[in-house]
């Protein structure tokens, strides 16, 4: 995998267009996104990006790796916010911004006091339309997750706990080339599947009950996200079959509706209507239809009724309708999807 400065360049073009001469980036995801490097934790590195240069404030221990992999970063051996301010002053930046939604209160207050300007949400905005490199990495992460599913189903056995099944699945992704997890795997057996954010437990798998798995891996810093629900055993209940068919149909419907220029809330609202028209089931669909993903697992635009954004070609979203019957079972079906000019492309395949 080749490290790339293309996201810094994209930011510099945007800064110039908007007549800014620099910006500070301090949140881990923003830093990893622009630098294209995978720093381990919040506070491991910060960026000050001007129209010509990208300064990376970080610890000495990263220097060997950074010099080799990211020659487009100018390293500064400090992690003090004050030093970012000093750098901006020495460069005589006049119109330097920080993202108010992706900067901590302490750092933001210091920046503001020293003449940096507030700007809400520009990092999220710049992440929305994916480049070819980003699409290729997400596609690879998605393909690893998708291939892991079949192998997992063959190896899953009655008597395994949710935690054991999770290890099994995660090991398969690792051996297929996954570089860590996109988020904590959700593995829900039986009635636990009715909780969309179930915490994995020692509950053992029995014959003839549903299994819901929601998981993803990373590749080159980018996430994948997929959910499948299936019946473990020979005779799925009629109730399960009926709900499964509806969820899958809702997924297919949303896939058709998620098109460039469509409001991001439209597929969600249509799925709600679809569930309502088929047995008044809307109240069992208790979350948003999906979200975008990239270096973070949840990115804007969100596919829920509260969003006022418009879908565009180059967005990578999830489509994940579900129905949850408390105390009984739940079903969710999710793919990661690239919005194309003419046709959407399911990446989790």
């Amino acid at each position: 995998m080749k490290f790339t400065a293309e996201k810094i360049k994209k930011l510099q073009v945007w800064l110039k267009q908007n007549r800014f001469d620099g910006c500070a980036v301090t949140d881990l995801d923003g830093v990893n996104f622009f630098s294209d490097f995978c720093f381990a934790g919040q506070g491991d590195a910060y960026l000050l990006i001007t129209l010509k240069k990208a300064y990376c404030f970080t610890k000495k221990m990263y220097a060997v790796d950074l010099k080799k992999k990211t020659p487009y970063l100018t390293l500064v051996d400090s992690l003090y916010f004050e030093d970012i301010v000093k750098k901006a002053q020495s460069l005589k930046l006049k119109n330097c911004i920080f993202d108010t939604t992706a900067t901590g209160y302490i750092a933001g207050t210091l920046f503001y006091k020293n003449g940096f300007k507030e700007y809400a949400g520009f990092i999220g905005k710049l992440k929305e339309i994916k480049t070819e490199t980003e699409i290729a990495r997400i596609k690879k992460a998605c393909s690893i997750s998708f291939r892991a599913y079949d192998i997992f189903r063959k190896k899953l056995k009655a008597g395994m706990t949710e935690l054991e099944a999770t290890s099994l699945l995660e090991n398969i992704m690792q051996s297929l080339g996954g570089e860590g997890l996109a988020f904590n795997t959700i593995m829900a057996f039986g009635e636990n599947s009715a909780n969309p954010h179930h915490i994995n437990s020692n509950r053992k798998l029995k014959q003839n009950e549903p299994v819901l798995l929601d998981y993803g891996c990373r590749y080159g810093g980018y996430c994948s996200d997929i959910t499948r629900t299936f019946w473990f055993g020979k005779k799925p209940s009629g109730e399960f079959n009926k709900a499964y068919a509806l969820v899958k149909a809702a997924h297919d419907l949303a896939l058709k509706l998620a098109k460039p220029s469509a409001p991001a809330c439209l597929p969600h609202n249509c799925v709600c209507d679809f569930f309502e028209d088929n047995g008044k089931l809307k109240k069992y669909f208790i979350h948003g239809l999906g979200h975008s993903l990239g270096t973070a697992i949840h990115e804007p635009p969100f596919m829920n009724p509260r969003t006022d954004e418009i879908l565009k070609a180059g967005h990578i979203i999830t489509i994940e309708p579900g129905l949850y019957f408390e105390g009984k079972f739940g079903i969710r079906y999710e793919d990661t999807v690239l919005i194309g000019e003419d046709k959407n492309k399911i990446l989790t395949k």
Binding site: M61, V64, D65, Y105, E179
Partner: protein, 350 residues
């Protein structure tokens, strides 16, 4: 059924009182996990601890399961602007002095909290989270045991021809098979000259006889981390230079373990290891801090570093001691165990 950990909640309430506050807002994923266990995903909840109870506003889908699992907690669903929802709830509760952590809140939310008259307290939960409870220590010891057992296993498993990636996979698998829920960070396996880079990402290099092997790994058991590093010579003809560097690193490590005292600052403990390595003539090759705090997060407070000249390391604080010497292009050596502080000095977590 999950339950709030009373020992932890009491400690949080005491801290709130000590700070002359009547409530505190938590948004950080790990701060919330400390109090509630792993219930909420990152950024999906705001939690308010006050004298009479715990109030949460979170994504709507949590409302039903959380109110069922934690009957003592009041939870309200909210899918947008949870900071504003929290401010409204605090007004209703008639709390007068509510705090928030400026390092954990976004600039946007922090401004709203200041406008509502709340008080900024940086690093608020740090002293409570750094001093581990008995249950926390028990889980950390279990996590450490799995890591040590894995090291024993990998010594017998390694053979010429295996790649760094294959070795990392074996380490990760073995830890999970022995009860770990996951790794606590991406396992580092560095062969030969790769060990000279302290932040090496495991690659495709293959193991040969008479080569340096550096392994840095750990796992999570019941939400708590372990972290160990070992470096050794694979083969029977260690170079003289390796032997000398290894001895220096191991002795620096042992010095720090032996001499660190409860109440010393991180800089003072760092200096024990650092001055030993400097005296041996390798000062410029020790390019990182001596250790980091560890708990639910792999790196947390209890910073054993030259920078930490003001925060003492107190009883039951948990941290690593991991001096290293890195000769870029040739090889590196690091030796790491984790410890907790007692009045009688440090004790290994094992």
């Amino acid at each position: 059924m999950p339950k709030l950990d009373e020992a932890k909640l009491d400690a949080v309430r005491k801290l709130i009182k000590q700070n002359k506050l009547d409530g505190f807002i938590f948004t950080d994923y790990n701060d919330i996990k400390y109090i509630m266990g792993p219930v909420f995903l990152s950024g999906e909840a705001v939690l308010l601890v006050h004298a009479k109870g715990v109030y949460i506003t979170a994504r709507s889908l949590y409302e039903a399961p959380v109110s069922q699992d934690f009957p003592e907690v009041k939870i309200e669903g909210c899918d947008k602007d949870r900071d504003l929802k929290t401010i409204a709830a605090i007004k209703k509760l008639k709390l007068k002095k509510v705090g928030f952590d400026g390092l954990k809140e976004s600039y946007h939310a922090g401004k709203n909290y200041i406008a509502a008259g709340f008080i900024e307290k940086e690093n608020f939960l740090v002293p409570v989270r750094a001093a581990k409870t008995e249950t926390e220590l028990k889980n950390m010891k279990a996590a450490a045991k799995i890591a040590y057992k894995t090291y024993e296993h990998i010594l017998t498993w390694l053979e010429p021809g295996v790649s760094e990636k294959e070795t990392a996979e074996e380490i990760d698998n073995f830890m999970k098979l022995n009860g770990a829920s996951s790794t606590s960070f991406d396992t580092i396996v560095a062969f030969g000259a790769n060990s000279g880079n302290p932040h090496y990402g495991t690659g495709n290099a293959k193991l040969k006889k008479n080569m340096v092997v550096l392994l840095d790994f750990g796992c999570i058991f019941k939400d708590y981390c372990s972290d160990i590093t070992r470096t050794f010579w694979f083969g029977d003809k260690p170079s003289k230079e390796f032997k000398e560097v290894y001895k220096t690193v191991k002795s620096a490590h042992d010095e720090a373990v032996e001499k660190a005292v409860c109440g010393q600052t991180g800089a003072e403990i760092d200096d024990i290891a650092r001055s030993y390595i400097e005296a041996a003539g390798y000062g410029q090759y020790f390019t990182h801090r001596t250790g980091h705090g560890i708990g639910m997060e792999i790196h947390e407070e209890a910073n054993i570093s030259q920078d930490n000249t003001d925060k003492p390391i107190l009883e039951n604080y948990c941290f690593s001691i991991e001096p290293g010497i890195y000769i870029v292009g040739k090889f590196g050596v690091r030796y790491e165990d984790c410890f907790y502080m007692t009045k009688q000095g440090v004790k290994q977590i094992k």
